[in-house]
């Protein structure tokens, strides 16, 4: 990981997965293996409390077929992906 540590630090992101929606495609873990993992029940969960921007992470949020993923700015709470 790069950048300053600690919640709310500049550029830090929080990843959320709506596990009620997730259908376990694993597309997110494939696009951003550092940010998502599939549990034993086949549903995705974020791997860490905060993360940093990457193409893989934007792709994951963009590709999720059921829109179960949101990525928000840790400092402002503003959604950064998926974008409309």
């Amino acid at each position: 990981m790069s950048g300053p540590a600690g919640p709310g630090a500049a550029g830090e992101l929080v990843v959320r997965v709506d596990r009620a929606r997730c259908v376990g495609t694993g597309l997110c873990a494939g696009a951003a293996p550092g940010d998502f993992q599939l549990d034993a029940d086949g549903k995705s969960r974020p791997r860490r409390d905060t993360t940093v921007p990457s193409d893989g992470l934007s792709d994951a949020a963009e590709f999720c077929p059921v829109e179960a993923i949101t990525v928000v700015d840790a400092a402002t709470g503003r959604r950064v992906a998926p974008l409309d």
Binding site: G24, G26, L27, G30, G42, F63, P65
Partner: protein, 402 residues
Amino acid sequence: MSVTPGQAVPGQPLVPLHCLRFAEPGPPRQAALPNGTPVWLVSRHRDARQVLTDPAFGRALLYAPDAPPLTSTPNLLDDPDSLLNQDGPDHQRLRRTVQRAFTPRAVARWRPWVASVVEQLVDDLVKSGPPADVVAGFSTPLPVAVISRLMALDGLDQDRMRHWSNLALSDSSHTPEEVAAALREFGAFAAQLIAERRREPGEDLVSSLLAAAEAEGSIPERQLVSLVCGLVVGGHETTMTSLGNALVYLLSEAPESWVRLGTDEEAAGAAVEQLLRAIPLGEPKELPGTVRRASVEVEVGGVTIPAGAVVAVQSQIANRDPEVYAEGQFGDLFAPLAAPSLTFGAGPHHCLGAWLARMEMQLALHRLADRLPGLRLAEPVADIDWRLGSITRSPQRLTVVW
């Protein structure tokens, strides 16, 4: 002689799909395919979901050199180059070329256009009758028009598309030679389409998937050809089938629900989920369900499935599992589902076109019922002429009056 639930009784009229009865879900059990290949049947919702999502179960392994034969007439779903038959990173690489076009947000952008196609078809249907054939005039042309527009298939007429699709999804009623010939023709069409869009890219799905594949760099050409064929077939066959069979159910058994579909668009969306859960697309024939093969020994629902075993997920049974759906096959048609049904699968192969199919069905049922709240079948259900010879079954014709 006993009749397997869910299969036709020779000499008797075929029952509508919503009338098929299936065994109760239970733990995984061993059975044999018609060709003798041993198979594990998985029927509980929880177990079905596990098999579809666990990477220990794959599709590509079904076509490994040591794999047992599955069907006597291989069809498009058996093409080792198809999206459905890739696993792991190979699968993701190919799926990413098309995923962006099918997210709920991407599909929502097509909504006004799909609604206008639906309106046009309803207008034409109303002008042509009563009576009118709602299959030829509505449930077939809608998904055909949608996928043709998405892929810009200007040169492909509906009859040719339907012919290829029927053989591409053929059950054992066509010879392997007939199926192979149709698949060759279909493949040649797709290869030519790809060449054209490489020369002259447009705004369509084929152009965008080629651009994504180009950026990716290492996707074999055969997989792109197979993907284009899969999109043409997958893009209309299943939606046409679901819509046709939903109409049979609604018009023969649920006239009050039909009226409500027309007055409430949101309720129509909930009803589509219930209809897709409750009404299967076909009856189990050569394969008892959607198949996978275990790469290692895995425990499913308390039963040990050995490495190399073929497993069939019986989604139709899991979709009625009382542990998940207390109401059984049908309850309140407008209630939200207790859990996502398995109609669109789960896991890495979860249907690419699920949101498109949902939107088409919601708009179709809502707008048709809105315009024709008194729509009803002109003939008894027992007289329905069924489209046979493919793994899906739906009415060939459905004469309606209003």
